[in-house]
Amino acid sequence: MGQAYSAGLTVTESTILRKERVLPLKGEVLVKKGDKVKAEDVVAQTLLPGKVIPLNLANKLGVTPAQLVNFVKVKAGDQIKKGTVLAENKGLFGLGFMKNSVTSPTDGEVESVSSHTGQILLREPRIPVQVKAFMDGVVTEVMPGEGVIIENKSAYVQGIFGIGGETVGALKILAASPDEELQAGKIDESCRGSIIAAGAFIRLEAIDKARQMGVKAVITGGVDDQDIKKILGYDLGVAITGHENVGITIVCTEGFGRINMAQKTFELLKKFEGFKTSIHGRTQIRAGVIRPEIIIPLQFQEEELTIPETRLPILEPGTLIRVIRQPNFGRIAKVTGMPEELTKVESETLVRVLQAEFEDGTRVMLPRANVEVIES
């Protein structure tokens, strides 16, 4: 008997969350420490440098790069408007006949003019970027010029995989049980602007209906790989997601294929039906793992905001686990024993195993690598 560290996903009715909301570049923070913010509030903003447009002035004027200096009308740092003359020659015999000039295709600034290559670089105006709070909460820290930290108390579920960015809406449960497939017929006008939850599975037809009805996000146990491919327009090679612009956010709690949503997850979502929920599908499996999140903010007092110590999920007798590979993929069990010795499984691989009991009482031996702890 013993214990071991393992991978785990959190499903909890109440936890203290702490979210960094930072700008991609230095900018301005719009809130102060102690401010109560709503998910939709802008907390920081900045201006990203505009695109650079290169133009070969020398070629356009028909002069050599070294001669360009005699014709160019602007210099690095000059502000320009669309149509500003950048350079012009003097025309035939210097009398202005057939005069040729080059004008700016954009508003912006001159970045540089090169006498080596005859190239001018123009920079378009800056692009404003805003960072929203994403979840209701309190600003507990301000990083000047960079962003803020927002804290709150929430019911919280980590998904295993998702697509689509951050969104906010009211939670609506459309499945009667965690093993139900969500049919398109159940999605109607009443779902507009909300985050809907299926049970075990949702097909493309129902996802399309959800998009038509203006649903913000879908939570499901599983989804078919080919349906995700059709939504994205390409096959996912590596799981780095969250930036897709597909009109809806999708979060899977269990994996690919039809897999019952864990009872605990389903019950939690049902309990908080109608609550305002923040959700994103961002997933990154490599170093610095990011998983999709479902955040349901709760009422809290500020003194409750003490972040629980981060600890690695532990496998030991009594731990609730989810099987994450065949056989028994998706089933929930409780650890009953942690034998030390290496054990040969059907594939003849020698592995560390654990003993576990399913909810129906049947007992199994499972490779430790093929389970994940359900944290609460």
Binding site: A7, P49, K51, V52, I53, P54, P65, E111, S112, S114, H116, T117, Q119, L121, I160, F161, D224, D225, Q226, D235, L236, G237, V238, A239, G255, F256, G257, T283, I285, R286, A287, G288, T310, I324, R325, Q326, P327, F329, V345, E346, S347, E348, T349, L350, V351, L366, P367, A369, N370, E372
Partner: protein
């Protein structure tokens, strides 16, 4: 500086990988260098610990504990007060500590050139050879618009940029234009914000003043010798050395704890031994072995996210390395399916399977990369995917490991009608002497016979080739060790690093199904003789243990040959291994699987049964 056993009797070497820090102990025991114990611990370069040395200490503590147990000596210690004691004083301390690192994503570079297939490719070769991941190659002729190139440079956040372009005295304009694009993008380094992004210029030397004008205010510019001083000459050494220097001076300085680690790595006289990027160290040891054994070598490391292939070919021992960034067995497994296509994976599976089930299984492995195949059927599927990942990575390697493009060479009359041109691959499987596999799927396959099957099916070795696996991926440690003691590195490589699997014999050329392909008379140690005329389309496995040698008389039939001199008859010695000698008459150039599904499954089962790759129940 090279040392011998007088100064080096006990050495600790670590490899700080992205997830695991692996430590090995190398000792001078009974007149030879041996790897004696090994330990490992999670790498601690990321939060919450943010200090790579913590993982090193943990792995070295495990080494100490195991060494105490092994020698039944409770006094053995390598570190004191959290630091190595160098040199060794009896039970306390070691004579040297060396390390490699790929933690924190390794060394990530962007390279530029004028012509993508010439100076661009040379720059890419220099960067890859130095152990980098090449995020993008930007060239004047790469068909992207200039503004797209600027956007691309800006969104990549490399550790450094290598700029090549123009032979000496050649184009200045294109090289400076590229510098202007880099300057306009104003790229920022990936780690740390307190320093300028290092940019190494290794192009036309006539352009240096203009490059300095354009770039010196925006980036940390370092000028070195031209990588391609003439079209027909490649000079990668100086650029590679600069990459290593900057990796140490700038990049590693930014990674948490590396300052301390850099101070730790030293030889017996307290002289610093630079930390090497892991792949560069692997390149080092492979070149050392190829030279020492006078053979051509291919090594492959198939990981969860990427597959690295290293090769040393030709009489000049030309080293090449490629990284197939999105071919791997977990994080990138789904990309193997996308790149190879389902039919190519299914062609290796000896049973029918539902397509959507397989696709979902692959995606689930991608999102839960640490799971292992518990069911036999899933193991067979993963190994089928591995074959395709290896095949694709090797194809990319063959396309990259080529003679210089854009050059002309004099030909004699015998070559006048041949198709060989500049840019032809130097990878010649017929002259390859040793194929080494590593990475979980090859090193930890439940049966070593499965490793042989995967390597042979994926690489299709030709003629006579020895096969081995690096069971614990010790090559990086030995590569950096060779910097201070080549003798220790090559001795340990031969004795402890490799597990020899055996030798593959495969005649090359066309032959007709059912006709005889190979007549083999193999005299095993002890006098037992294997003799058979083997028809086309067969495998034969003849057990021959590690260190054993058999005498073989081989004769190929039809239009097939056994070596690069196109001999059809050979008398050779064949080396054994944990699997044995594999006689493969399934054909090379071409190797073709039956197209009819039933015939294909029947052939696969026959071969897998002969090779004892899987338990009988799955082959019924």
């Amino acid at each position: 500086m090279q040392y011998d056993e007088k100064q080096l009797t006990r050495i600790v070497a670590t490899d700080c990988g992205s997830t695991t820090t692996k430590a090995i102990l190398i000792e001078w025991v009974d007149g030879e260098y041996r790897q004696t114990v090994r330990g490992e611990a999670p790498t601690t370069v990321e939060a919450p610990l943010n200090d790579v040395t913590k993982g090193v200490i943990n792995s070295v503590q495990e080494l100490e504990e195991l060494a105490r147990l092994k020698y039944n000596n409770p006094n053995i210690r390598f570190m004191e007060n959290g630091e190595f004691v160098i040199p060794r004083k009896g039970d306390l301390g070691v004579d040297a500590y060396v390390s490699t690192s790929s933690a924190g994503g390794g060394l990530q570079m962007m390279v530029t050139g004028v012509v993508a297939s010439m100076t661009g490719e040379s720059a890419e070769r220099a960067a890859l050879g130095a152990g980098a991941i090449v995020m993008d190659l930007i060239a004047s002729n790469d068909k992207r618009m200039n503004h797209q190139k600027i956007e691309r440079i800006r969104e990549l956040r490399p550790d450094m940029i290598l700029m090549a372009g123009g032979e000496d005295g050649g184009t200045v304009k294109h090289v400076v234009e590229m510098a202007e694009l880099v300057s306009a993008a104003d790229p920022k380094p990936r780690l740390g914000s307190g320093y300028k992004l290092p940019v190494i210029y290794a192009g036309n030397k006539q352009a240096v003043p203009d490059i300095e004008d354009t770039l010196k205010d925006k980036v940390g510019l370092i000028v070195t010798e031209n990588i391609r001083p003439k079209l027909e000459m490649e000079n990668l050494g100086p650029a590679r050395d600069k990459i290593h220097d900057i990796f140490m001076e700038h990049v590693m300085q930014q990674a948490p704890g590396y300052n301390k680690l850099m101070a730790w790595t030293m030889g017996p006289q307290h002289e610093s031994v630079p930390i090497m990027p892991t792949p560069a160290a692997v390149g080092n040891i492979m070149q050392a072995v190829a030279r020492a054994e006078k053979i051509e070598v291919v090594g492959v490391d198939i990981g969860g996210a990427t597959t690295d292939i290293f090769s040393v070919f030709t009489e000049e021992y030309i080293f090449n390395r490629t990284v197939s960034a999105n071919l791997g067995m977990s994080y990138s497994i789904s990309n193997v399916l996308a790149s190879a296509g389902l039919p190519n994976i299914m062609r290796w599976v000896p049973f029918p399977i539902d397509e959507s089930e397989l696709r979902n299984m692959i995606k689930n492995k991608m999102i839960r990369p640490t799971t292992i195949p518990s069911l036999l059927e899933e193991l067979v599927l993963e190994q089928a995917i591995a074959k395709e990942a290896l095949r694709l990575a090797f194809e990319q390697h063959k396309e990259f490991a080529v003679t210089l493009k854009g050059t002309q060479r004099q030909r004699d009359i015998s070559e006048a009608f041949s198709q060989s041109t500049s840019g032809a691959t130097i990878v010649n499987l017929m002259s390859l002497g040793l194929l080494v596999g590593s990475g979980g799927v090859l090193s930890h396959a439940p049966r070593r016979n499965q490793s042989v099957m995967m390597m042979v099916d994926a690489f299709l070795p030709e003629g006579i080739t020895r096969l081995a696996v690096d069971s614990i991926f010790m090559m990086p440690h030995l590569g950096v060790l060779s910097e201070i003691c080549e003798k220790a590195a090559t001795e340990v490589f031969n004795k402890d690093c490799l597990i020899y699997l055996g030798t593959c014999v495969a005649p090359v050329g066309r032959n007709k199904p059912g006709k005889p392909a190979l007549t083999a008379r193999i005299t095993l140690p002890g006098g037992k003789v294997f003799e058979e005329e083997i028809p086309c389309g067969e495998l034969r496995l003849i057990p021959l243990g590690v260190g054993e040698v058999a005498k073989a008389q081989l004769k190929s039939h039809g239009g097939t040959f056994l070596d690069k001199e196109k001999n059809k008859e050979l008398e050779v010695e064949l080396h054994g291994g944990v699997v044995g000698i594999l006689l493969d008459t399934r054909g090379r150039q071409p190797f073709e699987l039956p197209t009819d599904p039933a015939a294909r499954i029947s052939s696969l089962k026959k071969w897998m049964r002969e090779l004892k790759a899987y338990p009988e129940e799955i082959l019924k």
